[in-house]
């Protein structure tokens, strides 16, 4: 396991560069993001371990980051003062661009993987904004009226984006729909909805701990689109459960419910290599690897019978060194990385 200490700063997000498989960026904040400066770290994975290549300091905490999909040196960060900044790692100190529209903490930024001149952001001010790096103001503002912790473009379709918020809703927006009072919302899925194919509180198959509901609404903190199954989204949050939804069947409740984390889940990320595998990081100081049972013949049979698919946490990676809060992860080349509140980046 490789380890790097982001001395004095607590990690909130970590992402691999889409251009160099040995480069990682970390968004971090002093004092656990409550008050103080932020720092963007650019780290290199070398034979000698993780080394700092560069860092940029900001006035306020940094909560998320996204690498530019068009420029190998540019990284976008989400800041606590409501700003979004674009840094160029070929330059020193200052961002090359800064956008100030959100009224509260920006908690997510995500670059469009298909239409690469767009990115989106979401904020505690209850809005999602779509931006172009070349324009000084946002292109679209999508209100959610709830603190929105996570927003992302579909990796399969340039005009579809999704978000999860503190109101326990997964929203899907399609920017091709005409402007109207619905603000491009095409789907709203209550994350706490039960699986109607099973009676309430029915025991999960094999007593694996999966639940079918009904659930109480809980703040949703993170979500991610599956990279292979274009209609599948994983969500997680304060109720400690990870769920997968198929947006083709929004009324069918969760396809899989994965239980295991002992505190709120701060980040989920699907494997870029395996269609059925996802990673999660939680305030319980563990990162876990999950299999949602998609490729499991047995799981598929259970699914056909109407129950949630079987699943298993393969490994609870004991981030025994993370003293406070495991926060975030990215995954590339089979080597996941996690960044922790304690100020550590692990390559595992």
């Amino acid at each position: 396991m490789l380890e790097y200490r982001t001395q004095g700063f607590n990690g909130y997000a970590v992402k691999y560069s889409p251009f160099f498989d040995s480069r990682v960026a970390v968004a971090s904040a002093a004092n656990f993001g409550l008050v103080g400066n932020g720092r963007l770290h650019i780290l290199g994975l070398t034979a000698k371990g993780i080394v700092a290549e560069k860092w940029f300091d900001t006035q306020d905490s940094l909560f998320d980051l996204a690498w530019s999909e068009t420029h190998e040196n540019q990284v976008l960060v989400a800041a606590g003062d409501g700003s979004i900044k674009l840094f160029d790692i070929g330059l020193d100190e200052f961002p090359v661009q800064s956008w100030q529209e959100h009224n509260r903490e920006v908690f997510a930024v995500h670059w469009n993987l298909v239409d690469k001149d767009k990115f989106c952001s979401s904020s505690w001010d209850g809005t999602i904004k779509v931006w172009s790096p070349d324009r000084p103001t946002s292109l679209v503002t999508l209100p959610t009226h709830a603190c929105t912790y996570s927003a992302a473009f579909s990796p399969h379709d340039p005009s579809i984006l999704s978000a999860v918020s503190s109101d326990s809703q997964l929203r899907i927006f399609d920017l091709r729909t005409p402007p109207s009072a619905s603000n491009h919302i095409t789907l709203t899925i209550p994350i706490h909805s039960p699986n109607p194919r099973l009676p309430p509180n029915a025991a999960a198959p094999n007593n694996q701990g999966a639940q079918v509901g009904p659930f109480a609404p809980a703040e949703a903190l993170t979500h991610d689109w599956n990279k292979y199954r274009s209609t599948v989204v994983a969500t997680a949050g304060v109720d400690r459960l990870i769920r997968t939804f198929d947006i083709r069947a929004p009324d069918q409740g969760p396809v899989a419910v994965m239980q295991g984390h002992e505190y709120a889940v701060r980040r989920v990320a699907w494997s870029p290599h395996l269609a059925d595998t996802l990673l999660s990081a939680s305030y319980d100081m563990t990162c876990r690897v999950w299999n949602d049972g998609f490729n499991d013949a047995k799981g598929a049979v259970i699914g056909a019978q109407g129950g949630p698919r079987s699943w298993a946490a393969w490994v609870a990676i004991p981030s025994s060194c993370v003293e406070l809060i495991g926060a975030c992860l990215g995954m590339r080349g089979g080597l996941p990385v996690s960044g922790g509140m304690r100020g550590c980046v692990f390559g595992m």
Partner: protein, 424 residues
């Protein structure tokens, strides 16, 4: 509200929400249930009977193993084909018992595809067998395995069990110490460490009384699988009889400090150790079925408990009795459990002197140690004890609704072993 306070309350709300499950377990606690946990689904043993006289004295070790494995298969209901490896701890058989144990596995109904090994780490062999199987599962070498222990001290105890030392070994002081008989060195240790005979006798009487009570109350019934139709030669009349052996026969009622105080010391005229405050020579076998939690759930096996961590340490050969004192803290540290959190300790009573010394030196609550008695009362079939402790521990934890258990023993030639278990 200031901005930092707003952020703080927002993040607090992430943490204060109630869990969907009722488990209050903290992260990484041994109570956490992960699919890759190593769990025990069935554990049992034969009755322990007195060496040279008891009901199993004429049953060869391998036959005891056959009976134990058959019982394990029928009680667990597992398909024998799924068992990939069997580790058998045994101390006395020539050649380690490797040949006859493989045969015993086949006779018991395990298929040829089930591998078998015998191993010998003296008195901890049975625990070592369980630990080896747990680690093989953890490492992904096998999915399902059995850790077992067996000893027929009636037929195999004696001077033949140790090879003559070479001049080279004898020329090294600590090397030579490895062959000092256990009773002699324990006598010396009791003297050096000031463990009084009266204390030893009180401890031993306690073991007898606890075991007698446990037997009367049927506390061993859950773990013991009796043998029916055992051929037994009456030592008095030389008459061969067919008997049923259903319970430990070393347990005696009415043992007190006073009655034990009358027994002559065995190893020195002015010594403190005697037949009544040392472990009994016995025959017996025990077996533990282990697998991953995910496997157990898939197969519908009932989970008895979880293997958490183990330790093995070395001490001076002449102070072998202090092994548990050194091994237990190491295992607890690995498990992240404090000694006070442990509900039951099964510490082998090789000698009252060494067991008592370890309990005192570790500062353990005596009530938590061997609540149903120990080897002084019902015997110590050497290689079997470590596997026996698992079933004794889990049945006691189950009855009392407690969770954390530790098994440990001293090991001849100067070692100690311990393991931490969680009842579920």
């Amino acid at each position: 509200m200031s901005k930092p306070n707003q952020r703080l309350s927002q993040i607090q709300s992430h943490l204060s929400a109630t869990a969907p499950s009722s488990s209050p377990a903290s992260a990484l606690s041994p109570l956490t249930k992960s699919p890759d946990d190593i769990v025990v689904t069935t554990c049992l043993r034969t009755p322990f009977t007195k060496g040279g006289r008891g009901g199993l004295k004429d049953v060869p070790a391998a036959d005891l193993l056959v009976h134990t494995l058959k019982s394990l298969l029928s009680r667990s209901g597992i398909s024998p084909d799924l068992i990939e490896d069997l580790a058998v701890g045994s101390v006395l058989p020539p050649g380690g018992g490797a040949t006859e144990f493989r045969a015993a596995a086949l006779v018991a109904g395990l298929p040829e595809s089930t591998a078998v090994k015998s191993l010998n780490r003296q008195c901890s062999s049975g625990l070592q067998a369980c630990v080896d199987i747990a680690h093989a599962i953890k490492a992904g070498m096998i999915d399902v395995g059995v850790g077992a222990g067996v000893e027929s001290m009636s037929s195999q105890y004696g001077p033949g069990a140790v090879t003559e030392f070479s001049e080279l070994l004898d020329s090294h002081p600590e090397g030579k110490n490895c062959k000092v008989p256990m009773g002699m060195l324990s006598e010396q240790m009791a003297r050096d460490r000031g463990i009084k005979r009266s204390d030893q006798d009180a401890f031993a009487a306690g073991s007898y009384q606890k075991a007698f009570r446990a037997q009367q109350e049927g506390k061993f019934d859950e773990e013991i699988v009796g043998l029916k139709g055992v051929k037994w030669v009456d030592p008095k009349t030389d008459e061969e009889k067919v008997i049923d052996v259903m319970r430990d026969d070393g347990i005696r009622d009415g043992m007190t400090v006073e009655s034990l105080g009358k027994i002559k010391p065995a190893f020195a005229k002015d010594g403190s150790i005697h037949a009544g405050n040392a472990s009994q020579i016995s025959d017996g076998a025990a077996a533990v079925l282990m697998m991953k939690r995910s496997t157990a759930e898939r197969l519908g096996q009932t989970i008895v408990g979880k293997f958490v961590a183990s330790s093995v340490v070395g001490v001076k050969p002449l102070l072998m009795g202090i092994g548990p004192w050194k091994a237990i803290p190491v295992a607890l540290e690995k498990a992240g459990v404090s000694k006070d959190e442990v509900d039951v300790y099964e510490i082998n009573e090789a000698f009252a002197s060494q067991c008592l010394w370890c309990i005192r030196e570790l500062g353990l609550d005596e009530k938590k140690v061997n609540p149903d008695g120990g080897a002084i009362a019902f015997g110590h079939p050497l290689g079997c004890t470590g596997a026996r402790q698992v079933s004794t521990l889990f049945s006691e934890l189950g009855r009392t609704g407690k969770r954390f258990g530790v098994t440990s023993m001293c090991v001849g030639t100067g070692m100690g072993m311990a393991a931490v278990w969680v009842k579920e």
